[in-house]
């Protein structure tokens, strides 16, 4: 099963679904021939695509819309906020190549503030799958869900076998004195960092956040109070992402715990993905080094 097959199954069994794209067909090349008029390619017109999705949703459809994450969330932002957000329409926004996944494209294509701006919309939900398996598990629950959802599309190869998915529940893979909270492609790097840290005698908890909104407050707060150090690891700007979500929560709950954020402060070096991670120091090894240094300081 891949993303396209998942959509195909859904579309063939439920007439409410329609697929829209602003000429971003990479993950859905074979759909037009099968679903025909329920495949709507608006061309490179993100605003019109979102407006149309709102209209279709008003008629009872569940639109699944596709565009590169940067252009979907930023070019069409006000349409998402005003037409989808205010009306709370169950449109599913699939953002391609989010975070580091835009690799060689450069800053124009880098969606590393997408979570920040999407979570500012009341009623908007956000899912950041760690890999293809995680994404498919999540989408089965999210696509029929009666609220808007932004999904950071990620079809990378799974590094682990994932557990059942529930909206608003994080996937806790382990627990320890150091807790690494992360999402998306960096989960794999976190797992590599865990091994290195363990060989240095540290116990490490790993949490795959999955839906950053709604945020699994209960689980995360428990882990924070049980940890000596909480690391937020994300391919997103420091402002407005996981670090901000956690900080807001800790302040509201009047809790004090040591938080070490690993995030981006500016646009990253455009290159092939592995080289980006090396250069920006987000590989498992670099992450482990930074955490050890933080503990020692």
């Amino acid at each position: 099963m891949n993303y396209e097959q998942l959509l195909l199954d859904l579309l063939q069994n439920d007439q409410r679904y329609v697929v829209l794209t602003a000429e971003n067909r990479a993950s859905i090349r074979n759909l037009p021939n099968v679903i025909q008029d329920r495949f709507i390619d608006t061309g490179i017109a993100e605003q019109t695509m979102i407006g149309m999705a709102a209209g279709l949703a008003l008629r009872g459809r569940i639109p699944i819309v596709h565009a590169l994450a940067a252009f979907l969330t930023m070019r069409a932002f006000e349409f998402i906020r005003t037409d989808i957000g205010i009306a709370n329409l169950p449109v599913k926004l699939i953002g391609a190549v989010p975070g580091f996944l835009s690799d060689g494209n450069g800053p124009a294509h880098q969606a590393i503030e997408d979570i920040s701006i999407m979570r500012g919309i009341p009623g908007m939900n956000i899912f950041c799958p760690a890999d293809e398996e995680d994404m498919l598990l999540g989408l089965q629950k999210i696509l029929p869900y009666n609220s808007p959802f932004y999904i950071r599309y990620n079809n990378s190869k799974p590094g682990i076998k994932h557990s059942n998915f529930e909206i608003g529940k994080a996937e806790v893979l382990s627990s320890g004195e150091i807790t690494i909270l992360t999402y998306g492609i960096l989960l794999n790097e976190a797992l590599k960092a865990k091994k290195i840290l363990e060989s240095a005698g540290k116990s490490v908890g790993i949490v795959n956040i999955r839906t950053i909104k709604p945020f699994d407050k209960g689980t995360i707060l428990n882990l924070c109070t049980d940890s000596k150090l909480v690391v937020t690891l994300e391919d997103h700007f420091l402002t407005g992402g996981l670090f901000s979500v956690l900080s807001e929560l800790l302040v509201l709950e009047n809790l004090n715990c040591k938080v070490f954020p690993l995030a981006l402060n500016s646009w990253f070096k455009p290159a092939m993905l592995n080289d980006v991670m090396e250069f920006e120091r987000f590989t498992g090894k670099a992450i482990a080094d930074k955490i050890l240094k933080e503990i020692e300081s």
Partner: protein
């Protein structure tokens, strides 16, 4: 078959609607000029063209009217009140926190299909409605009213390209061509003429008419092409502030907030056409 009104009846109704609009131009005010310019179009559409009534507001087979510019909503509320879709008694709640009647449309007012106010949005939203009606092979009519100033927005032209590409011939855009945007005449700021040629070049069927002449509106709407694959735009030539000579076609009478005394004089002016001596300051909101 829709029961229609005679031209004389429509003229009478539109005067009543204008009274409602004028009464909203106090206690905080409203966008009076733009509401008066499209009042006749909205009256015509509801009474003689669209299948929308109190009994079918949720029926998927109903027709749709969207106000894309949004600040013309007093004209819609006045018409809905005359139709009995909106209780007339609610109109005095304009700008009150106990209701949803304010400067732009809100879906909690019966008869409002979708909110607007941010310009350039409802062309694409109505395209989504039109696309779904095509998918279901239903013959709903979908009308969206655009402001001429609103045509500055890039999303209108993006939508115009896509509507034509998707062959949405069940979609009718009406441009309320009152020749003004917020502060200036359209042609003095961002000229949009020749507007007909622009839409033609985008693949639309283009018609022009006097937006205050019910005969002309009837002729155009009753003879629109059927099923030729092209969306329709009707450029309705209108007058900003139509019906009140003291504010007609004035760049500085876009948003108006008058005293109660002035409102009473304007209500008289609507019938007598004797110009009111307006002393309330002109407001520029933008």
């Amino acid at each position: 078959m829709k029961q229609t009104k005679s031209i004389k009846e429509l003229e009478h109704i539109s005067l009543k609607v204008r009274e409602h609009i004028i009464k909203m131009a106090t206690g905080g005010g409203c966008f009076l000029g733009a509401s008066l310019s499209c009042a006749d179009i909205i009256v015509f559409l509801y009474y003689n063209y669209l299948n929308i009534s109190k009994d079918n507001l949720k029926d998927p087979k109903r027709d749709y009217l969207f106000l894309s510019k949004g600040h013309d909503v007093p004209a819609l509320y006045g018409t809905l009140a005359e139709l009995g879709i909106l209780e007339k008694s609610r109109l005095i709640n304009h700008l009150k926190t106990n209701d949803y009647i304010y400067w732009h449309p809100n879906v909690n007012v019966p008869g409002v299909e979708f909110h607007s106010g941010s310009l350039g949005h409802l062309l694409s939203v109505s395209m989504g409605i039109a696309y779904d009606c095509k998918l279901k092979y239903t013959d709903n009519k979908i009308v969206v009213i655009l402001g001429d100033g609103e045509l500055n927005e890039g999303s209108i032209w993006e939508g115009a390209l896509v509507a034509s590409a998707k062959k949405l011939d069940n979609l009718i855009a009406v441009v309320d061509r009152n020749k003004f945007q917020a502060n200036l005449a359209t042609e003095d700021l961002i000229p949009i003429e020749p507007l007909d040629k622009k839409f033609e070049a985008f693949g639309w069927n283009v018609f022009k008419c006097d937006g205050h002449d019910f005969n002309a509106l009837e002729n155009i709407f009753n003879t629109l092409p059927q099923g030729d694959g092209k969306p329709v735009v009707i450029i309705a030539d209108t007058i900003r502030g139509k019906g009140l000579p003291s504010i007609e076609s004035r760049a500085d009478r876009w948003f108006c907030n008058f005293s109660n005394e002035e409102i009473n004089q304007l209500l008289e002016e609507l019938y007598s056409k004797h110009k009111t001596n307006l002393t309330s300051e002109t407001l520029v909101v933008r």
